[in-house]
Symmetry: C2
Subunit: 149 residues, 2 copies
């Protein structure tokens, strides 16, 4: 996964930072087609009592308001399969690729991303999965309250 | 449209507030199944240089962090057809219905909403359309920069 090193490493660092804050340990990082980090962030649902600051939304927000062309060929790295909202955000900004750490804990809108021509890479990273499993075990109320079914 | 009065009126007020701030005039309002306003907001792309605070995202954020059950049967009112990100947010929170002011200015993820069993109502409201047309005419750089093609 050498080509993904910098973006994925930043996303994982963000997830760990979120864990250290007592938050849901999901991180993300947006990398431009020429390899520059445009923004990074982590889930702030617990920390800010936020309904919308998932890792990918935080990342897009931290990247700032940019012209559509800035997202051309960009890659969204995220430690977990993106939910429907974050899937929609990736479609809105037409990122070229979503690289996820894992999808064993949760599977989001992957089929929708594919339908929109967005490439998906699953790194099947054990550290991402372990972070989530630990959080869900220790704070089930902070995870399952947002899930259904 | 009597049953939509309170929610739609609040969304339209938000759109006008956004216009008064020099922003993109799109407003939204989330109403619970028992008719209470859970949150309202407007597009803050210009005002906060935000990439993610569209009207519906602002509304969900302003409603706060709630258990999934709070969104049961809820209606998202929005003055404009929701983009892919906001469509995804409505799917994530499983709102029952999206009531939009118009979709002549822009058509978002309506087919995706329908695929997920979310009811769509288009009020074809002339005031919503006039607000958008005025904004796009006067500030094309603030609208087209986020659009493609």
């Amino acid at each position: 996964m050498s080509e993904h090193d910098a973006g994925f490493r930043a996303a994982l660092e963000e997830a760990k930072q979120g864990a250290g804050e007592g938050g849901i340990p999901i991180g993300a990082c947006l990398v431009s087609k020429d390899g520059k980090i445009m923004g990074r962030g982590h889930n702030m649902r617990v920390q800010k009592k936020s309904a919308t600051l998932h890792a990918e939304i935080s990342t897009l927000e931290n990247a700032g308001r940019l012209p559509a062309s800035a997202y051309d060929g960009a890659t969204m790295y995220t430690t977990l399969s993106p939910c429907d909202m974050c899937t929609g955000a990736c479609i809105l900004y037409k990122v070229a690729r979503v690289v996820m750490g894992e999808n064993n804990t949760f599977i989001g809108g992957e089929s929708t991303l594919k339908q929109h021509g967005i490439e998906i890479v699953n790194l099947k990273n054990a550290e991402c999965e372990a972070l989530m499993k630990k959080f869900i075990t220790e704070h089930p109320e902070d995870w399952w309250v947002i899930m259904r079914g």
